[in-house]
Structure formats: structure tokens, C-alpha cells
């Protein structure tokens, strides 16, 4: 009746597990209680949960990312603490817990923090940057959001019911096979991955088509803003890389559920094929994570140097080169797994080639700043922090590309990839969050706490990961829950301090948000363009109307908003307004997400009747939408005019084609 689900699935076997479960349960109940007490269910439903507005979907994505960042960070804090104390002792975390934690930490950070964060930025920014009113597939956009949320929910519920995987975020077989991981942990991982992967792949299709098909008239490809270029390349990678992850997780699932032999230890299984398949996705994935950050840095550097970006074409070509190169080098993630010298040599030397377009990119940013009037705003601080630390991360990568060196799978590797992910990707997303927050909400984020957050993060990062590099060079392997070499401990204690600094960084970001909301009247941006920026998204109101642009502008070159301001056209009111057709709301996206959660949960616990209900529910949700051909609503010209006149200053209005 309930498959494998029994009362034993509840976490009463351990105090730590109970603590984790309690936090999740209280958290969910707390949110439900708060919304009920404020009487905001109807508002939440009509304005957010059923919205197909890309801007709102983007905000929800970023919200998901920030919430999951807290959960992922708690995992990190627990690991650092364990490693700081577990010299010649068992520490406080039993090995089973520790293994679940390092697995869930990485899984959450990659799939439910980084990807939602960057997709959220795409959603809020890109349609406005290209002069579009909506994305190509608004309903699919909503589906992707809710499927990703379902995946995150699945990981969270594993804290309460059952347990998560102990097989690492890459779930290598044969350990992840049913023979060695018989419990539901790896199954939770598989289904969370599948939900996230399908959502990401469909997002890739959505933004690819949006950018190719919905640019403003006159905007050629080589006039697109660099964040849009980064988005286009990232989405190409999402479309072509995520199928590999879907295949990888599905084949592992077939082994576990149907007793097949893709990766088993005997009967013709080939575990090495798993590793290859996983990294066929895995390497492009790290570029999926970093390219949007590079896009943010390009925008931020140009705006806060007060200059046009240096070397626009070289930046475009570098981005494209990085995209293409990232598809060809996946073996460097398993250089020590026994391939021949020729194979290793090819992949080992192709991988560092990525340094060339990356260097071009960084030099372009530096040349932009040179002779510019640099303002050290919070986004710019994150950018500068990135430039300094990322180069070090890249160099440690060059060291790791040497196959025979003895630092593979040590904490040196851990420090290397965190170097690229935290100051590289995460700082980029933070910079984007700070930079575009006023666009989304109409008021800036408070500078003082933003600065404090930046310094806490960068000091924390250095304190946490430089010791890990050192101790990795001394031979400490990754994923160790206890150790016996006393010379490692001082470094691990320093790393723990670094984690505490990062904790402060997270707290400061939360304080910044709270303080900014409280002071929003003082921080309001009346012109819609608080940074005197250059690209089209700053031409709309802040926050924008649902349709973004009352009149779609005609674009003549790079930095069209800057050109409009120089020509004095920014202040013009259009001669007349026209009706605008926009997509209506739909509950089918949220319904599909909810049903996908039910389906995945049921599959984890092998409750087949519930899985059938979930699958049918998903099918029904899709069906309800596919034949709905007239799901838009028309905003009459009079209403458009009323909305536009309510904008406080005339400055943000653009003139379109003269009528």
C-alpha cells in the first residue's frame, strides 16, 4: 500500500537527524502560518504562483536559490566543524550523516542554488535587455520553475522522511547501485536530479528561442548586450548537456529499479561509462554556471566604469569559444581513472586551452576599467573580488591538469573548484542580484550592509579555502570525516573560521534585504535608471509594467539605452499608445510541479499507485494547456497610457517608431 515507506523512515534514530527534520517541518509550518495570518493566500496565488510573467518567475527563482543557499551552507558549516574537531576522534557526526551531508551540500548548491539563481537572472533581465515583452514560452517557463522547486522540495523532504544519498553528488557506481546503497538515498538523488534536469533543459530551449526570435527590431546578434550573449551561450549548453545527465540518472535508475546491468559490478556492467556519461554533462555544467556570471561582470564593469565595454567583439568570440570548448574536454574530470597516455594527453592539454578566451575576457574588463571612472559600488566590489581570486583558481586548475601529479581527489581539488564556484559564479550572481534589484523592485539595496557582506564573503572564502589547498598539498583526501595527522588540524580550524565569516556574510545579506525593505522609500529609484546604465533593461520602469515596454524601441547599435539618452530621445513620450496582448495566468504550471513532486516521491518509495496518480496529474496539467490557443489577455491602449503616465519622471519613456 505504501511501498517501502514505513514508520522507520522518520528520523528518530539520531538526534542530529531529528534536529534537521524539525527545522524543515517548523520552517514550512511557519511560512504557512505567516501567510495565513497575513491573509495573503489569494494574493500569493494570483500574483505569484500562477503568474506567467517572466519577471515574477525570475524573482521566485532567485528566492528559491537564496533559501537553498542557507540549507546548503548549513551542510558546509557542519562539515567544517566536523573536520576541525575530528583529529584522532569520531567528531560529532557519524560517518553516515557526514556522507549524506557532503552529498546533499554539493547537490543542493549546484542544482538548487546556482542553477535557479542564474535562471532567475535570465528571467528578470534578458527579455528586457533585448526589448521583448515576454519570453517565447511563458507557460513552459512556469513549468520549469515549479519542477525545479519540486526537486528542491524532494531533497528537503529527505531530511524528514527517509535519508539522502551517501554516494557523493556524482553518485558513482558501483557504490550507488542497489547492492551497496539499498536504501532510498540514491533514489532521492536520482529523482531530484531528473526533475531539475528536465526543468533546466526546457529553460534552455525557452531562452534560446526567445533570444533568437524576440529581439527588438534592428537588434542584430552583434548588438546584443553581453549578458544576453552569455545567456544565449549558456542556454545552448543547457540544451545540449542536460540530456547527458538525464541519460546518466535514468540508466542508474534502471539498474536500481529494474535490475539492469549498465553499471553493476558484474554481469557485463561498465562503471567507467557512468563516469564518462556524467562528466559529458558535468563539464559543460560548470560553464553553464560561470558564463552568466561573466555576463554580469561585463555589464557591471561597463556601467561602473562609465565607459562602453572594451573589446565587445572579442568578448563575444571568447564566450562562444568557451562554449564550444567546454563540450570537448570532459575526461579531465577522471584523468586518474586509467585511460591511456594518448587519451589523457588529448583531454589534458585541451582543457587548459579554456584559459585563452578566459584571459581575453578578463583583460577586456581590465581595459574597460583603465581610464574609466570606476565607482566602487557593491556589484563592482564583487567583480573586483572575483577578478583577483578567480585567476588563482584558474592557475590551480592548470596544476591539476598535470596527470601524474599527486593532488587529485585531495582538498586541493576542493579548494580549486570552490575557488571557481564561489568568487567566480556566486559572486557574479550576487553582483547581478545587487545590480538588478532596483530594476525588479523599484528601490536599491542598502550599500553599507552590502559592503560588509562582500568583505565577509571574500575574507571568509580565503580563510576557508586557502588552508584547504595547503592541506591538500600535504595529502589530505576529500570527503574525509576523520583523520589522524595532527599537522592538518590547525589549517582545518582556520577553515572553520572562514566558514564563520561566510556565515556572517549570509547574515549581512539578510540584514541588507531587511534594512532595504524598511528604508525603501529613501532608497527608491524614481527614474528607473539608478546607475545611469547603458543597456535596454534600464529603459523600462522600475519595477516594470507587465508588458515591459509600452512601445518597443528600434535598436541601432550596442548600448541602445545610452544612445537614446545621448540623443535626448529618452525623455520623449510616444505620440500614441496601442493595445498590447500579454499571456494570462495559469495554474497548470504550479499543478504540474506539485504533481511532479508527488510522482517523484512515490517513485522513491515505490508506492506505485501514487506514482500513477502523479503521472496522470502531470499529463492532465500538460493537456489542459496544450490545446488552450487563446490564453492571452489584451491590455487596451487607454490602460497602457494610464500606466505610463503614472511613472514619476518622463525620463524612462522611449520613443518608438513615429506614428
Amino acid at each position: 500500500m505504501l511501498g517501502k515507506l514505513t514508520i522507520d523512515a522518520l528520523p528518530f534514530y539520531s538526534g542530529i537527524a531529528m534536529g534537521g527534520a524539525l527545522i524543515v517541518v517548523l520552517g514550512v509550518l511557519g511560512v504557512v502560518a505567516l501567510v495565513t495570518w497575513l491573509g495573503q493566500w489569494r494574493y500569493l496565488w494570483t500574483e505569484w504562483l500562477t503568474s506567467l510573467d517572466h519577471k515574477k518567475i525570475g524573482i521566485m527563482y532567485v528566492t528559491l536559490a537564496l533559501l537553498m543557499l542557507v540549507r546548503g551552507f548549513i551542510d558546509a558549516m557542519m562539515m567544517r566543524t566536523q573536520q576541525a574537531v575530528a583529529l584522532n576522534s569520531d567528531g560529532y557526526l557519524p560517518p553516515g550523516h557526514f556522507d549524506q551531508i557532503f552529498t546533499s551540500h554539493a547537490t543542493i548548491m549546484v542544482f538548487f542554488v546556482a542553477i535557479p539563481f542564474l535562471v532567475g537572472l535570465f528571467n528578470v533581465v534578458v527579455p528586457q535587455q533585448i526589448g521583448a515583452r515576454r519570453v517565447a514560452f511563458p507557460f513552459m517557463n512556469s513549468v520549469c520553475l515549479w519542477m525545479t522547486t519540486a526537486g528542491a522540495a524532494l531533497v528537503m523532504i529527505s531530511l524528514v522522511i527517509g535519508n539522502f544519498s551517501t554516494a557523493g553528488w556524482n553518485a558513482y557506481p558501483p557504490y550507488s547501485e542497489a547492492q551497496f546503497s539499498p536504501d532510498v538515498g540514491v533514489d532521492y538523488w536520482i529523482w531530484a536530479i531528473l526533475l531539475s534536469a528536465v526543468g533546466s533543459m526546457l529553460t534552455g530551449i525557452n531562452f534560446l528561442v526567445t533570444i533568437v526570435k524576440r529581439r527588438a527590431p534592428g537588434m542584430r546578434l552583434m548588438m546584443m548586450p553581453l549578458f544576453t550573449w552569455a545567456t544565449l551561450c549558456t542556454n545552448i549548453l543547457m540544451v545540449f548537456a542536460f540530456p547527458a545527465l538525464i541519460v546518466t540518472a535514468a540508466l542508474l535508475g534502471l539498474d536500481r529499479y529494474l535490475g539492469m546491468h549498465f553499471f553493476t559490478e558484474g554481469d557485463g556492467g561498465n562503471a567507467m561509462n557512468y563516469v564518462s556519461l556524467f562528466w559529458i554533462w558535468g563539464h559543460p555544467d560548470v560553464y553553464i554556471l560561470i558564463l552568466p556570471a561573466f555576463g554580469v561582470y561585463s555589464e557591471v564593469v561597463a556601467t561602473f566604469s562609465g565607459r562602453r565595454i572594451f573589446g565587445y567583439e572579442s568578448l563575444v568570440y571568447s564566450t562562444v569559444a568557451i562554449t564550444v570548448l567546454s563540450l570537448v574536454v570532459w575526461l579531465h574530470h577522471f584523468l586518474t581513472m586509467g585511460a591511456g597516455a594518448d587519451v589523457n594527453a588529448f583531454f589534458g592539454s585541451a582543457a587548459p586551452l579554456i584559459a585563452i578566451p578566459t584571459a581575453v575576457t578578463i583583460f577586456d574588463w581590465l581595459f574597460t576599467m583603465y581610464r574609466g571612472r570606476v565607482q566602487f559600488t557593491v556589484p563592482m566590489l564583487f567583480t573586483l573580488g572575483f577578478i583577483v581570486t578567480f585567476i588563482i583558481g584558474g592557475m590551480t586548475g592548470a596544476l591539476l591538469a598535470v596527470v601524474p601529479v599527486d593532488i587529485h581527489n585531495t582538498t586541493f581539488l576542493v579548494a580549486h573548484f570552490h575557488n571557481l564556484l564561489i568568487p567566480g559564479a556566486l559572486f557574479g550572481y550576487f553582483a547581478g542580484y545587487q545590480y538588478w534589484f532596483p530594476k525588479a523592485f523599484g528601490f536599491k539595496l542598502e550599500e553599507k550592509w552590502g559592503r560588509r557582506a562582500f568583505w565577509a564573503w571574500i575574507v571568509g572564502f580565503c580563510l576557508a579555502f586557502i588552508p584547504l589547498s595547503i592541506v591538500g598539498l600535504m595529502g589530505m583526501p576529500q570527503r574525509l570525516n576523520r583523520y589522524y595527522d595532527a599537522s592538518w588540524q590547525p589549517y582545518l580550524i582556520v577553515a572553520e573560521c572562514g566558514a564563520l565569516f561566510i556565515l556572517c556574510g549570509i547574515i549581512f545579506l539578510a540584514v541588507q534585504l531587511a534594512a532595504s525593505i524598511r528604508n525603501r522609500a529613501a532608497l527608491a529609484v524614481s527614474t528607473g535608471d539608478p546607475w545611469d546604465a547603458r543597456t535596454l533593461e534600464w529603459a523600462t520602469a522600475s519595477p516594470p509594467a507587465a508588458y515591459n515596454f509600452a512601445v518597443v524601441p528600434h535598436v541601432h547599435g550596442i548600448d541602445p539605452w545610452w544612445a537614446m539618452k545621448q540623443a535626448g530621445a529618452a525623455a520623449n513620450r510616444p505620440a500614441r499608445f496601442h493595445d498590447i496582448i500579454m499571456p494570462g495566468n495559469s495554474s497548470a504550471g504550479a499543478a504540474l510541479g506539485a504533481m511532479s513532486f508527488v510522482f517523484a516521491f512515490a517513485m522513491v518509495w515505490q508506492i506505485w499507485w501514487l506514482a500513477a496518480v502523479g503521472a496522470l496529474g502531470m499529463f492532465a496539467a500538460v493537456l489542459s494547456q496544450t490545446f488552450r490557443d487563446h490564453a492571452e489577455h489584451r491590455i487596451p491602449a487607454s490602460e497602457v497610457e494610464a500606466i505610463e503616465s503614472r511613472r514619476i519622471l518622463a525620463a524612462p519613456l522611449i520613443s518608438g517608431v513615429p506614428t
Binding site: V212, I236, F240, A244, N270, M272, N273, S276, L277, I280, L327, V328, W330, L331, M337, G338, A339, G340, D342, V343
Partner: protein, 113 residues
């Protein structure tokens, strides 16, 4: 299927319909021939195995192109350009992933022996 629908045009002329059916029939005949050849060779084994494998490969690739041209209407006109670019990029990626996987895995297998 016919070309992507255009709202403004009402395609009723029998001449247009005829030329579309002709395209499908040509494609069908070509596909039939390109199927019969490899199947026939395997059934009768008139060539050496390695040669038959080469013919299978060529016939299969050619038939795929026939399908793309006659059934999927993928030609060199501007209206097909976006799809053609996507297909070419996908083909390159397929080649890299398929070829790379085989290279890596057979190299590993060889070294395990």
C-alpha cells in the same frame, strides 16, 4: 508534413498538393532502396563483413539525409536556415560525444585486458 502553416495563405491549389505528394513518394522510394541494400547484403552475405558494415553506414547516413530533405523539408532556403544551423551544431556535438565516448571507453577496455 507540409511546410509550416502561414495564416494568410489558404493552400487549396491541387497543383501544390500534387508536388508535395510527389516529394513524399520520391523520398519513400529512395528510402526503400536504401533500406533494401543493407538488408539484402546482410541476408545474402555477398561481400565480406567489414565491407557490408561500411555499406550499412553509408546507406544509413544517406537515408537519414533523404528523410531530412523529403519528409522534414530541410533544404537550403532562408526559411530553413535557423533549423539547419541548429542541426549542424547538434551533428557536431553528436559526433564529439559519440566518437569521444567510444574512443575513451575502448581505450580503457584495452588497458584493462
Amino acid at each position: 508534413m507540409a511546410a509550416p502553416p502561414r495564416l494568410s495563405k489558404m493552400p487549396t491549389s491541387p497543383h501544390r498538393r500534387q508536388s508535395t505528394i510527389k516529394g513524399y513518394l520520391v523520398g519513400a522510394v529512395l528510402a526503400l532502396v536504401l533500406t533494401a541494400i543493407p538488408f539484402g547484403l546482410v541476408a545474402t552475405r555477398t561481400l565480406r563483413p567489414i565491407q557490408i558494415l561500411v555499406v550499412i553506414g553509408i546507406a544509413g547516413t544517406t537515408q537519414a539525409v533523404v528523410h531530412l530533405r523529403y519528409f522534414l523539408h530541410l533544404d537550403l532556403k532562408p526559411s530553413s536556415q535557423n533549423k539547419l544551423i541548429a542541426l549542424c551544431f547538434a551533428a557536431v556535438v553528436l559526433f564529439i560525444l559519440f566518437g569521444g565516448t567510444l574512443w575513451i571507453m575502448f581505450n580503457l577496455n584495452y588497458r584493462k585486458m
